[in-house]
C-alpha cells in the first residue's frame, strides 16, 4: 500500500471493512444456529458450509482491518468484545432464522446483494481487499444459487410452502433498502478506489431477485419505508440475544482459547 496513492485515514478504511465483516459474521452465526436442526441432513451440511464461508470472510475482513488500524485490537476483539451498538451490520442479517423459508429468503436477499458487491470490490486498488472480495464473490455466487434454487422450489411448491415463502418475503423486504443505502463513508471508499459503492449494485440485485421470484411465482412486495440504522449501530431487538450467545464464552472466560 503506497500512502501517497491513498490519502484516506487508515482507520476509516478499517471502519469500512469492519462493516463488511460484521454483515458476514451475523449472517454466518445465524446459519450456524441451523447446525443439527436443518430439515434434512443434506441441508444441514449445506447451511453449515455457507456459515463457514461467511465466518471465513469475516475473519479476512477483520484481520485486514486490524492491520490497517495498526494492531490495537485483533479479530477476536472485534467479534467478541464489542457491544451491540458498536456493530455496524445491516439489520437484515441479524433477523431470526424463523422457519426454513425465512432463512432462505433472508439468504437470497443478502447474497443477491453480496455477490455483485464483492465482484465490484474485487477491483479494489488494495490487493488484499481485492483478493478477499474475489474469493467472497465466488462463494456468494454459490450462496445465491443454492438459496435461489430453494426459494424457487418453496414458492413453486405446495400451497403451504408458497404461503410461507411469500410471508417471509413480505416480512424481510423492508430490510432490503438498507443494503444499498450508501453513506458518506461508502462513497469516500468507492471514490478513492479502495472500496465499492453498494448503491451501484442495486440493478444487479433487482434483476437476480426478479428472476428468482418470477420462477418461484412469488410477488415482489411493494416498496415501503424500510428499516435503517445498522451502519450507525442501531439494531433490532434480535442482535442483543445473538451476541449474548455468541460472546458468552469470551465474556465469561476472557482470552479462552482451544
Amino acid at each position: 500500500m503506497r500512502p501517497s496513492a491513498d490519502p484516506i485515514n487508515p482507520d476509516r478504511r478499517a471502519a469500512w471493512l469492519i462493516r463488511l465483516g460484521d454483515d458476514a459474521l451475523m449472517l454466518g452465526h445465524r446459519l450456524s444456529e441451523w447446525s443439527s436442526r436443518a430439515p434434512t441432513l443434506e441441508e444441514d451440511i449445506a447451511l453449515s458450509n455457507l456459515a463457514l464461508d461467511l465466518i471465513g470472510q469475516t475473519r479476512a475482513f477483520y484481520q485486514h482491518a486490524c492491520k490497517l488500524e495498526g494492531g490495537m485490537r485483533d479479530e477476536d476483539g472485534l467479534a467478541f468484545r464489542r457491544s451491540e451498538h458498536e456493530f455496524r451490520n445491516v439489520q437484515l442479517v441479524e433477523q431470526l432464522n424463523g422457519n426454513f423459508a425465512d432463512t432462505i429468503v433472508r439468504h437470497v436477499l443478502f447474497s443477491a446483494f453480496a455477490y455483485p458487491f464483492h465482484r465490484a470490490l474485487s477491483r479494489s486498488h488494495d490487493p488484499e481487499v481485492a483478493g478477499i472480495a474475489a474469493r467472497a464473490g465466488n462463494e456468494m455466487a454459490y450462496h445465491l444459487r443454492h438459496s435461489g434454487e430453494w426459494l424457487i422450489r418453496l414458492g413453486d411448491g405446495t400451497a403451504e410452502s408458497h404461503a410461507k415463502a411469500q410471508a417471509a418475503l413480505d416480512m424481510l423486504w423492508p430490510y432490503v433498502d438498507e443494503l444499498f443505502a450508501s453513506d458518506a463513508l461508502d462513497r469516500e471508499m468507492a471514490e478513492s478506489g479502495f472500496g465499492a459503492d453498494p448503491a451501484q449494485v442495486r440493478p444487479a440485485f433487482d434483476s437476480a431477485v426478479e428472476r428468482v421470484l418470477s420462477e418461484a411465482t412469488l410477488e415482489r412486495p411493494p416498496a415501503a419505508p424500510g428499516h435503517r440504522g445498522g451502519r450507525d449501530g442501531v439494531h433490532t431487538e434480535h442482535l442483543g440475544h445473538l451476541l449474548a450467545q455468541m460472546q458468552y464464552l469470551q465474556r465469561a472466560h476472557p482470552g479462552a482459547s482451544w
Partner: protein, 95 residues
C-alpha cells in the same frame, strides 16, 4: 398428510484429471439440480473434485446377489486373466 419419499441419488466425483469418476456415496434430493448442490456440499468440502455426477439411484441396474456364483465367482479362479506376471513401471502412474 403423506409425502412422497425424497428420491435417492448416487454421487460420483472425479478427483483429478486422468482419473475416472468414482462412486463416493448417495444422498436424498428432490430433483437433479438440488442433488448436484447437495453433492457439492457433502462430498467436496475439502476440494476433492474436478467434476461431479449425480445419477438417480433408480436408474442403476444391479446384479442380483443370489447370482453371485454364476456372475462373479468363476472369474476369480482364472489366473491367466490376472495381469500379475509383469511389473508396472512407476512412471505409468495410475492404471
Amino acid at each position: 398428510m403423506t409425502e412422497a419419499p425424497t428420491p435417492l441419488w448416487e454421487v460420483f466425483i472425479r478427483p483429478r484429471n486422468g482419473l475416472a469418476h468414482r462412486h463416493v456415496g448417495s444422498l436424498h434430493a428432490a430433483d437433479a439440480e438440488m442433488a448436484l448442490q447437495s453433492a457439492r456440499d457433502i462430498y467436496t468440502r475439502r476440494g476433492e473434485a474436478l467434476s461431479i455426477w449425480v445419477v438417480p439411484s433408480s436408474a442403476i441396474v444391479a446384479c442380483d446377489p443370489a447370482d453371485k456364483g454364476m456372475m462373479l465367482e468363476p472369474t476369480a479362479t482364472k489366473i491367466y486373466r490376472h495381469p500379475t506376471f509383469y511389473e508396472v513401471p512407476e512412471e505409468v502412474g495410475n492404471m
